[in-house]
Amino acid sequence: MPSKQEIFEKIKTSLVDALGVDEDEVKPEATLVGDLGAESIDFLDIVFRLEKAFNIKVPRGELFPEDILTNPDYVKDGKVTPEGLVQLRKRMPFANLDPFAANPNVKDFGNLLTVEDMVRYVVSKVGAS
């Protein structure tokens, strides 16, 4: 079983390759969109790299729950509804959604995910020592 540090290092390599950022920019607290400049199409690239690096499958919507954020049942007036937040927490137990929940503007969601969240996501898939 890999250590958390090994998982972080592999994620760092994936993000450096996918986003063209410097290694020292990839810190645990860095957000993918705001700090590392990821755009929507980059997430597809990142998913391929994570799948290869960890030999895992990342089902559609698991890491980036676009379906919830575009579902009119869960979004009203540009904000995620309480039911939508329940769905997000269920889908993304690896992410800290509390800051987002305080003011759940859909447009701010993209800037939520951090490198540390990704480490937790991979740990949830492969375990860690």
């Binding site: 996918a18 199409i41 980059d42 690239d45 391929f48 499958k57 559609r60």
Partner: protein, 176 residues
């Protein structure tokens, strides 16, 4: 000008790898316009040729039921310029394929020399029910693939000879 940047396929292993060639001729206008007086094949068009080789590999993997678009090129390295008289051998290898798209690694060789190498990410475009449907009709791809000889050299993933995607005959009959 037709937007076809490969001349023909020489190998096509479904869901694995495709090889195509592009012969560079001094008669091609763009060679003269790129760097006047120094005719080279523009790297952007080599990229396009590699993307067409890989794009058809990705499209065929799902019988052209997905609309495949070039999404991103995370890495591209060109080692030397390709010049008139060169035959570029394009090799596209499918690294990963899922519901959302595909990752392909692609190389261009002149003889044994590695001329260019890149990674290409393709995305499957969601069906908007409108304009994209017309742009991505399977018959357009199949027509191009026939022209490029894919069905002459192609092998499906079980090793048998590659056949035209099912439904094409129906589509053709429907047009009559």
């Amino acid at each position: 000008m037709r937007w076809i940047w490969i001349d023909k396929f020489i190998e096509f292993d479904s869901r694995k790898q495709a090889k195509a060639i592009k012969n560079i001729s001094l008669a091609e206008e763009h060679l003269h316009d790129h760097f006047p007086g120094f005719p080279v094949m523009p790297n952007s068009l080599i990229t396009e040729g590699l993307a067409q080789t890989g794009g058809l590999l990705v499209g065929e993997a799902n019988n052209f039921e997905e609309k495949v678009i070039l999404a991103k090129i995370p890495k591209a390295v060109f080692h030397f310029p390709a010049v008139p008289g060169d035959t570029l051998l394009y090799t596209a290898t499918l690294l990963d394929l899922n519901d959302n798209g595909a990752m392909v690694s692609a190389t261009s060789h002149v003889g044994d020399r590695l001329q260019a190498e890149m990674e290409i990410v393709f995305a499957h475009l969601a069906d908007d029910g409108g304009r994209s449907r017309n742009l991505f009709e399977p018959k357009n791809f199949v027509f191009t693939m026939k022209l490029l000889g894919v069905f002459d050299v192609g092998r499906s993933s079980d090793g048998s000879k590659l056949k035209e995607p099912p439904g094409l005959a129906k589509m053709r009959d429907g047009e009559k």
